[in-house]
């Protein structure tokens, strides 16, 4: 009992996700934002810093300005305006004074921070023969605070595992910002840990995390809980990464985010042929819409995918709208949960 209480006490003392990000802001902004009421802090999704413009927060319900005293201000005149000095210091802190070490990240437009948070960066883009080379004169940041939501996979898992205890080839279909990656991450964690309720032992999961969103790796080390039997190739192109994992890591499931290009589908087919299970996501709001895209149409044609999970936000972010059997193309009778 007392041990449990200790653990709970530890949990309370632990820094909130927002605090982890605040440590990367210059002292004046850190001070302002740490004065925010706890209720606001808990719902902050984004901190937006744009040179010469007001400091803003992206909240679950819309956005708001931040005043110099550290309150959410409703009118523009009260807002704190970000100056050159702030931007320079934020640049130094998020890059650890080493922009030269982040050329690859700048090319992608974001840096992953300790804790798995991400900061998007804008400025003047330098190109070389049409390819983005670097970002210079950095002037804008968007700190996106990531919060792990554990347990979202629980209600879909029973539909994704066969009575014999085998995982089905699964594709999550969802429009942007409907909790696709969150669900994917939680599925990976559960498969990796094992699911005692379903008599499912943990299996090796290989993750190709091209956009560093699933595992939120910081210097190659996953910052999110993705389970004990999970291997991550961070920032690796999907097609190449799937082949690498297949050859070297002996995964039972290969998971990736946002399949769409022809080469991704070709690699996916290799994985299917190797007898390895597939877990992936695609952008889209319905199966009909997906069938219009040539690369994905092929995937339907070979009838390889056994389960399609459709997500939406009809009952809030992450609503499971439907689960469809890939062989018969019929709904499994899950509606809006």
């Amino acid at each position: 009992m007392s041990v449990l209480r200790q653990i709970q006490a530890l949990d309370i003392n632990k820094a909130t996700p927002v605090d982890e990000v605040l440590n990367l802001l210059p002292p004046n902004l850190r001070q302002m934002l740490s004065e925010l009421p706890p209720a606001v802090k808990e719902t902050v999704e984004e901190i937006r810093i744009r040179q010469g413009r007001p400091l803003m927060l992206g909240l679950a319900q819309g956005d708001g300005y931040v005043s110099e005293k550290g309150a959410v201000a409703s009118c523009l005149s009260e807002a704190y305006v970000v100056n050159t000095n702030d931007v320079e210091r934020v640049t130094q802190l998020v890059s650890r004074s080493s922009l030269y070490a982040l050329e690859e990240e700048l090319r992608n437009g974001f840096i992953t921070l300790p804790g798995g948070h991400r900061v998007g960066i804008t400025g003047k883009v330098l190109t070389d023969q049409g390819m983005v080379k670097n970002i210079k004169y950095i002037s804008g940041f968007n700190f996106r605070i990531s919060r792990a939501v554990k347990g979202v996979a629980d209600r879909v898992l029973p539909y994704l595992i066969s009575p014999e205890g085998r995982f089905f080839h699964t594709v999550l279909v969802s429009p942007p910002r409907c909790g696709k990656t969150t669900l994917l991450r939680d599925l990976i964690r559960r498969l990796s840990e094992g699911i005692p309720e379903l008599g499912f032992p943990g299996i090796n999961v290989g993750v190709v995390d091209e956009r560093s969103e699933i595992a939120g790796c910081y210097r190659g080390i996953p910052q999110r809980d993705i389970g004990p039997r999970t291997d991550v190739l961070d920032a690796c192109p999907k097609a190449a990464g799937m082949m690498m994992l297949l050859r070297s890591m002996g995964p039972s499931v290969i998971a990736t985010d946002e399949i769409g290009r022809q080469e991704d589908v070709a690699a996916l087919e290799e994985v299917l042929n190797a007898g390895v299970k597939v877990l992936t996501t695609v952008h889209g709001s319905s199966l009909e819409e997906l069938a219009d895209r040539p690369a994905l149409r092929y995937l339907f044609k070979i009838k390889a995918i056994q389960r399609f999970v459709l997500l939406g936000r009809s009952k809030g972010v992450g609503t499971v709208e439907d689960i469809i059997d890939g062989r018969t193309m019929r709904s499994l009778g899950v509606k809006r949960c």
Partner: protein
């Protein structure tokens, strides 16, 4: 007898002053050489390893001449605190502590300050350019320092001793 002792004390102290001045001339080329070596290491860390600046500075401090190491280790430590200072500020703080104890001149300090302005704020190519520029300028200073050292070390050594003698002769 007392007069003789006093005269010896004057000559002795003047010689010491002369030697101190001379040693600052002879120390400077060596220190600039160590700085050049350290900057070369930093350049390697930045261009080949793409090591983040705080770690790169710590690595350099571990391997370079102990006489110049404090400049690099202190800058690294300042940056590791993550208290919101820029690399330039950290470098300046470290330089202001290091400079008074070193044999460097204001010109050398100017070159290092200038380098601080660009530390960590640009891409790899640009960083290397700035490091190379600082090294080139330091090499010029080193040549000057060596020349001055050859000329002045002996001069000040003799000057101290002879100056002491002169004072004694005048007083007697």
């Amino acid at each position: 007898m007392l007069k003789f002792l006093g005269a010896a004390a004057v000559v002795f102290s003047c010689t010491l002053i002369g030697m101190t001045v001379a040693s600052s001339y002879s120390r400077r080329p060596g220190e600039i050489r160590s700085l050049l070596n350290a900057l070369q290491m930093l350049e390697t860390e930045v261009s080949y390893g793409a090591t983040p600046l705080p770690e790169a500075l710590t690595h350099v401090a571990e391997r370079c001449d102990p006489r110049v190491a404090p400049l690099f280790s202190r800058t690294g430590e300042e940056l590791m605190t993550m208290r919101g200072i820029t690399a330039r500020e950290a470098w300046e703080t470290a330089l202001n502590q290091y400079y008074p104890k070193s044999a460097l001149t204001r010109a050398d300090r100017g070159i290092l300050l200038e380098l601080g302005n660009s530390l960590g704020v640009s891409d790899r190519e640009d960083q290397v350019k700035h490091l190379v520029l600082a090294k080139e300028q330091l090499k010029l200073e080193q040549a000057k320092a060596e020349e001055a050292s050859l000329k002045n070390t002996k001069v000040y050594n003799y000057l101290g001793f002879l100056g002491g003698l002169t004072i004694v002769l005048i007083l007697i």
